[in-house]
Amino acid sequence: MFSLGPLAFAAPIALVGLLTLPVLWRLLRATPPPPRRAIFPPLRLLKDAPDDAETPHHAPWWLILFRLLLAAIVIVALARPIWQPDTIVETSQPLLLVVDNGWASASAWRDMVREANYRLDLAEENGRTSAILFTADAQPDAELVLGDPNAARRQLEGQDVQAWPPNRDLAAGRVSLAAETGALADDMEIIWITDGVQTDGAANLAGVLDPLGRVTAILPGPGRSPLALGTPVATPNGFSVEVLRIDADLPRTVSLVATATDGRAVARTEVALETSVTRARVDIELPLDLRNRVSAIRIEGQTSAGGTQLTDDAWRRPRVGVIDAASEDGQPLLSDLHYVMRAIEPFTEARRDDLDALLSANVSALIMVDAARTDDPRVVNFVNEGGLLIRFAGPRLAARPDDLLPVQLREGGRLFGSALSWEDPQTLAPFAPDSPFAGLSVPPEATVSRQVLAEPGTAAADRVWARLNDGTPLVTAMRQGEGWVVLFHVTAGPDWSDLPLTGLFPRMLRRVSALAQGGSATPTQSGAYVIDRALDGEGQLSNPPVSARPVPAQSWEGAVASPLTPPGIYRLGAASAALNVLRAGQDISALPRSLPGVTFANLEMPAERRFAGPLLAFALFLLMIDALIGMALAGRLPRLRLPRRGGAVAALIAGLGLFWMMPSAEAQQGQYLDSFEVDAALDLRFAYILTGNRDIDARSRAGLTGLSREIWARSAMEPTDPMAVDIETNELVFFPIIYWPVQTNAPDLSAEAAARVSRYIQSGGLIVFDTQDADMAATRAGAPHPGLARLLNAIDVPPLAPVDPEHVLTKSFYLLQEFPGRITGGQVWVEADPDGASRDGASGVIIGSNDWASAWATDDSGQPLYPVEGGERQREMARRFGVNLAMYALTGNYKADQVHVPALLERLGQ
């Protein structure tokens, strides 16, 4: 091999051909181009005109240069140039490829495959046999035998990154079995393309491979080493999660995203990992509602199964156990437990039972009222292992404090407002900003008449979450072991305070219960967890592989990600549980460099490139251009007039071609905005979807024009002319409202358009679907509108419900109770749970059938275009609805707050 810097030639002899170029030069100069043909009627006059007739006219210099370049390219291509050749020692040993395709390979997989292919190419060139082995194979039953490199390549094509870690013990077993049966040779070149993550079987595998030949382990290299995500842990203000990595040579910034079930991002944050730091914890502040909505946390940009943590129902709805008291007297309104149960039921899976049953049901929080007080050591264990214990004070605690308390208590407690006291019942002080209760408003009627008192000095400020107005602690909390102990210094019933009677009480409990987390949510019941959705190697939920098996509930604790139990969401009855690649407390570490007999190398980014093929293709391309030039010179290309600087153009074309050939050349993608986007973005406009029916489109346009005019006249909003949107091609994000007339024969949306519509709704847009057939809807006899059903199937629409009388749409500008259009009476549907979306509570779709466009439509002079069923009064109502709609689209749930205005005014008056 002969090399020039990074360029080498496999057949350098062919370069001698370059010496013929000067000869070629003379030859090309001597050969005139074919004559141009011209029909010339006055030929007679031309006869015997002077001409140094056959003195050859030289081919133009640039054409000669062009042809020489062509020849040079062919010669160079025949010399088989290689860019950045690997210094591979030519060998005749058989090749054994061991490829890690577990979750950690996801980020480097393409390069790993390229490396493997390259090794197989080398083996094929030298006529060596080869075999390939995957350590995380889903079906590890293929026979491991040396054979044609093509067979190995086909196996490689069939493999993908898996969601589970590699099983190197199993791989070692397969290698030693093959070695014993003689399917492998004794002296092989062994390439282990690894993900660089240590597993139990790594040493074993290295030990098995070492006697079979020289083992080279190829690591992914610094940029592509895997990142993993630890189990998320609930904190009072949200949750925290740990980012793990094995390669700490470089600082790295990782962005995390927490997504809800519908795929919308709920939270996003960034973690900076400094040099030599392999793990970093990040706190994400998130209100409880939003936190409960988190269904997965992912590392953005580098998606892999290990970079994904799925949450299950244990995460979302804490399982809270209320310890039953033996001495309940059957009077619910006097029972502490009654108040607690009523307070926590809305947001937890509450269960009232004795301690044994509760602990065996694996609750994540225990609530212990005074009457149910117990000194059982299992409670201490429960807290130490990560449980949340919420205690309430009472006469017994006041009489005899115990140890499982956040603060030391004084015996006896404190009494206000009684006959023997000078003091009035105390109200609560506003919550401190660092308290978990921060932001909750304190109602004045929440008074406390008795409480247990903390010993002064033991109630450190960080343990006190709520105080009375005089500063005495009302709620104290303490971290114990992995868990929390929270003490309310009053009873859970109304005996000592009015707090349990106020709305504040359930809100405080809700904040506290945010601390509870799943731990293991597995009840020890019989049955087996069956996989519902599995993570794939890219960290996306997909259909489970056929290899998945049910996991018996008893062994759920010990389940780890593997081909039989792929990570994902498992179900047992109504319960769901997540199996993640990294379980709680698990860490990842780098493959030790001390593996026996293994030399390490990095996956080199710029692998060698052979470009004899592309060069020859390019030469062919030039040959075509040459033919074209020849024809142009001969006048046979009728309308092609070569520009005067033809040479420069040809050189430019050739140069561009070369540029395209260069390995590092990457064209930057430019994007230009067309006028549609500019128009749409520069002004506030409504939009309507083109249906292809000219009448309907004209009506939509007239309707939105009329509505825009009304809104301009009546409100501060100043929309300009509406725009037509072709749903298959145009971008939607510019429009606050899109009016979508739906016909029964509406065509199916393409997948791309459907995704665009879903994205539009998720990003806060509002689509008004109007079937315009409220008057004829009865003829469908309850069957869904076929066009609408097709549309809604295609796009991602949350559950819908009829507009309720309190909906913001009824009061965003005018107070309305009906939404008439040309027709009135059609049911109008909105999202059932607008708070369920990450969109500030505004519904993303409104579906109706009242043909609003017709009612809104006006001509240029402002005259209505179409008759309305209920006359001018109904047209006015339709316009008011339109104004409300526009306000709703622009202000969201802003007007919802106005519901409280009367109450607020009343309070201000006092």
């Binding site: 181009p33 011209a38 009627p41 030929l43 006059l45 005109a49």
Partner: protein, 298 residues
Amino acid sequence: MRSPFARDDTKRAADLRQAGEAAAAPFGELVAEAERIAASVVMGVHGQRKRGLGETFWEYRHHRAEDGAQAVDWRMSAKSSELYVRENEQEAANTVWLWRDGSATMDFGSSRKLPLKKDRAAVCMIAMAALLSRGGERIAALGESARARGGEMGLERTSIRLGTGPGSLGSVESAPIARYGRVVLASDFLDPIETWRARLSRYAALQAGGAMLRVIDPMEEDFPFKGRTRFESSDDSESLLFGRAEEARKAYRQRWAEHGNQLADLARSYGWTLVTHRTDRPATQAVLALYRALAREV
């Protein structure tokens, strides 16, 4: 060859007719002044400068005995003691023979933007036909029309023949025309001067005069060729190869100019007018020049 006009004959005739009428539109009535020709006495619109049957007043003369009482112009006679007779001018229509060369060399247009020489010649001829027939002349396609006709029908028939007829040189050499007829020939006149001299001499014998419209393509005049070029005649019968066409340019242009001069001399010697027209110029220029030429021959 390329042509902006349709291939289909009927359609083509209509197209050419339309283009011709468009070219004729800017002109007023073209009334070709007739020469005094005693022989052709067909009534028409040309004053014959002598008394005869007509509509326009010519002269009053004294009454003669043979005139009879009806001939007296009583209004004039009442002014004096003499009897007068009112005489009108003798009027006659002239006949114009139009010919458009259809030989192979005319079937040529150097660029897609330019019309074929043949088509441009036809357009000019039809324009002339339109103007002449509107002025009351009788027109005919030389060698193709059986007899000259006036009016709309004559224009229609002549246009079709001018647009789609063969336009053979035989018509020029032997077609019968009346004495003192007027002839308009549209051709590229590429044949040798002597040939044309022989052809025109026949008209001189008939005392017919007229105009020649020489239609040339810009390429023929400019000779824009460079480099190695093979020139072929229109009918592919012969070809000439030039290694460096630009070297022949000077000699060619000299010969071209010489040919043009000889042609002009020839025309002058027979009392014809030569109008030279390049196809890259508007057709109206050529029609205007022909109009002037016919009008001048008073």
